[in-house]
Amino acid sequence: MKAFWSKPAEPQVETSPKTWDEVKTTTCYMCACRCGIRVYLKDGTVTYIDGNSKHPVNKGVICGKGASGIMQHYSPARLTKPLMRVGERGSGEFREVEWEEALRTATLWLSEVRAKDPKKLAFFTGRDQSQGLTGWWASQFGTPNYAAHGGFCSVNMAAAGLYTFGGSFWEFGEPDWKHTKYFMLFGVAEDHASNPIKMGLGKLKKRGAKFVSVNPVKTGYSAIADEWVGVKPGTDGLFAGAIIHELLKADKIDLPYLVRYTNAHWLVIQAPGHPENGLFLRDAEGRPQAVDQTGRLTDALAAELTPRLVGEVTLKDGRKAVPSFDLIARRFLSDEFSPDTVASQCAIPAATIRRIAAELAHVAFEQEVTLDVAWTDWAGRKHDKMTGRPVSMHAMRGISAHSNGFQTCRTIHLLQILLGTIDAPGGFRYKAPFPKPVPPAVKPAGKQGQVKPLTPLAGPPLGFVMGPEDLLVDAKGTPQRIDKAYSWEAPLSAHGLMHMVITNAAKQDPYGIDVLFMYMANMAWNSAMNVPDTIKYLTAKREDGEYVIPRIIYSDAYASETVAYADLILPDTTYLERHDCISLLDRPISEADGPADSIRIPVVEPDRDVRPFQTVLLDLGARLGLPGMVNADFSPKYPGGYPDYIVNHERAPGIGPLAGWRGADGKAQGKGAVNPDQLKRYEENGSYWFHELPDSQKYFRHANKEYLEWAVSFGLLGKAEPIVFQLYSEVLQKFRLAAEGHGAILPPPEHRQRILTHFDPIPCWYAPFEGDMVGEVEYPLHAITQRPMAMYHSWGSQNAWLRQILGRNWLYMSHFRAAALGVTDGDWVYVISHHGRIKVQVKRMDGVNDDTVWTWNAIGKRKGTWGLDANAAESKKGFLLNHIISELLPEREGGYRYSNSDPVTGQAAWYDLKVRIEKAEIGAGVSEPQFDTIKKIPGFKRPNILRFMGGKKKS
């Protein structure tokens, strides 16, 4: 019998509730990481999302964004029906229209352009994960004016890698998380490609490996680094160069690796003034030459060869030549790169640089990793082990987004290669489809004469130029593309310059356009440099009252700031309502251990009158009669929309958007006939496909015979030839020669010095442009952004949960800097650049470079957008640095204003921003500038109380 004072019986808790009736696997889209997710459904409502434990990318984990997907899916900012503008551009006044009217209107506008001059369509697709389709569509339409967001994201980094070792940082490769013992991270964008890095960092620290973060700001990943190196923005190249300096001086470099895998021994002609100066010495067949230990000229590509790496040779014709390594070593042994020289420029003590160089050398040369795995090299020679130097590096923004980013990234790759770490155990590993030839053998189409009415382009609009002959310019050197990609202003712009499209179109430079068609890019706000003028450009009118950009079509799922500036809105679905295909033809989800791709499936049907953009694009293609999108009788080739295309489209015989379960029996992968059951097979497998390479193919893939032969059979490579790292870049030298007046295709005189300076065939460093032009005295501070881990670009603010985590931003600066300025937490300041000023509120911290101020990216929102109340903190206190970043550099001599971009690749240089800070009065206590409130877009429903209970009704 229980005593009366005893505790009452515990309540019965239901410990096995089933709050769902169905679970579907698909792919996340809360950032570009593309993790596998499981979506739990109850009565057709999404109740819960978690990570798919079997998925190769995230292995069951999920991030703060991914787990908030429900709130994105049920966002009040979702567009609900096609819209036609009725008010002035920017007013937000629309009328709802039926899809048939919307599609007919778009078809009419687009067919006029295509019949007259297809390049007058500028089709730019932002954070598109379907570039395999959208690029092909542009090419079938016949316009060269196509790109996605890479030009303002990280093209200088991507291009630096692809022109150096046939791979690239960021999502296209990864540190060997399992074996690396020393990891250096140069900058980062913590909002995407995020879970693999977080998982890797966790593993690495548990193993006791050292993690060094090189970043002006100590947040996020930097916070858990063993060592934070608070570099001054834009000087990473000097820091990496000084490490190279130390390693070369101490002879701590992997010479055997260089001779095997790079062009270190290739002879470079030294004949100043000669048209072949700086090019590789080649034989009659075009094969590069080396000199062997006996002093004899020989084929540099031969397998059995003992080449010299230093020393000049005199050729029969009297010219001189030296191995490229000789030139590179001389560059980095010079005092220009000594730790003592760079220390004050980088804000990194010389002793720290020396110590890090010593640590790298120690780990690389004293702590080798050997795997008991036999493999065969490109020449057929068998090796019984795989040995690597366990130093790895990774990089993202901070390296990209500076005007010197291409050369800085090349310098980091040089460092990795000198240490013998690319695709070696413990080093940096490729992810399929990489490695590719250096650079990939795809050239951009769209030369003068190739763009014709009613005619597809001869090839894809984006590719890799090998020399001036591949540029898209006319005889006078005038750019052929609206963004001036592949012109003398940005010759290696492999991802285009989306950030220049609106400016150039409004200025009709190099020409005006008729239709601007954009997808998922917030170009009237946080994706633009210079928001105030961008808005002017979007609304500029000609004398006859017509807009200078006459037609703007925009597709997005959400009411972003850009919606109000379009004439026709094609509302997209959320990521849970659509098919998608994350393809090896585009940006796959491959792992270092093997290729992988994935799909999205509609886990719920849209409850609004919206359609998946890719299906709409194919519909438009059919209505326009684009080749490849219609049958012989002009009926649509893919009447089933995007899923129909994903399964049935073949880019080359046997090669389609998805690599898995090809062939009539579903047993082929890579190449194989169309399999009508392919999507079903993906769904059964958790919406992804992954092929794990055999151990013998997991490393040294640039020179691994088994891998190279497999890659050819699979369709990733054309030939099973070794991929030779281009430490010295002959492609760059060809541009330099043109700038010196050699060859048939020459840059206009006004561009020549710029080419000469920046197209250095040896990695180099120069000061970021804006800082160099505006002066240290007037604008002493760097201003940059960091990516909050719980937000992806502008998308997070519409999310009821994520905006509670970060609903406004502050300007962060060091205590030292704040004291010098006489400001403290909560004070208002003006941040002034050469272009404009913003008024913002300050917070102080220790973990920031003293010469740097920073804020979270894309938190500021325009009033009335993203489904938010006009009083939202995002609008009243939040702010963007974009308003004070000019898309054009200050005038040079002669008055010309170049775009604010990397001169090699056209990468937007928005991290080059230099500012000064002045204390401001509180005033109204709101950030400035404030823009007019955008009127409510039709269809909004915004609850005041959110009781989200999934499929359950509150009892």
């Binding site: 309540p11 984990v61 787990a67 020393g311 020396r354 010593a358 220790d846």
Partner: protein
């Protein structure tokens, strides 16, 4: 006032979390995974007031804070996840006038029974950790349940029977298990890494433990040395330095 179960007997199960401050990067995965599970689970709903307005305020059972901490020589950024610690002697339970707040005898989980909670908020005043949040719309107190509706849930795969925050964590900074069992993986982890109690001076005996950041490897080590100067040859000029490589026999 509510009494506590006798949890002093040997072998008493003490379920809890171990949180590794060495590798938490502050990504908020644990916070939002908690929110999405629990707003449809035992604690449903976790209300958000004014979710799209000027001052959104929602109920969360787990929040991650970021602080700069000066250890005397340098400043470190610490990401600090905060949720109920499922104390062995929790004042939040003993102050409860209705018995709504209680500690489970079988596993030590501290729960609130929403049917008997009167919303008096005494428990949130009693908790020094700020682990409880009041839902003004529902009129009840909410707190971490250690996902009591997941960890035993027979409808989930065995690998998923863990708190949503633990399953989510990308860096592996969160572990779940029986801290009453000295042989459990979590207990061993605590022993190995010198896990500690939060604010032990209150003597509520938190079950959850925090693992301190590891020693940072940012000082010269004897093996690697402070620089490569010692191994640098005497060579003074660039030409001399290049000359070292002239006779190296390197085969491809």
């Amino acid at each position: 006032m509510t009494s506590l179960p006798d949890t002093t007997k040997p072998g008493q199960k003490k379920l809890g979390l171990v949180i590794d401050l060495d590798i938490c990067v502050g990504c908020q995965a644990c916070a939002t995974s908690c929110k999405e599970w629990n707003t449809q689970g035992y604690s449903a709903p976790l209300t958000d007031e004014n979710p799209y307005g000027a001052d959104p305020v929602g109920v969360w059972l787990n929040r991650v804070h970021a602080y700069e901490v000066d250890d005397g020589t340098s400043t470190n950024v610490v990401h600090f996840p905060r949720s109920c610690l499922h104390c062995e002697t929790p004042a939040c339970v003993t102050v409860c006038p209705t018995g709504a707040s209680y500690k489970r005898a079988e596993d030590g989980i501290v729960l609130v029974n929403p049917d008997t909670c009167i919303g008096c908020k005494l428990c949130s005043w009693a908790c020094p950790y700020g682990a409880r949040e009041y839902d003004y719309q529902e009129g009840v107190m909410r707190k971490c349940t250690l996902c009591v509706d997941r960890i035993y849930n027979e409808n989930l795969e065995p690998e998923d029977r863990q708190p949503a925050c633990v399953k989510a964590c990308p860096t592996g900074a969160r572990a779940f298990g029986d801290l009453g069992d000295s042989e459990s993986a979590v207990s061993k982890l605590v022993a190995e890494r010198e896990g500690y109690d939060l604010m032990p001076q209150f003597d509520y005996k938190p079950v959850n433990k925090y693992l301190p950041p590891r020693t940072r490897k940012d000082k010269p080590t004897p093996k690697a040395g402070a620089s490569l100067l010692d191994v640098m040859p005497e060579a003074k000029t660039t030409a001399d330095r290049l000359f070292r490589w002239a006779d190296r026999l390197l085969s491809r």
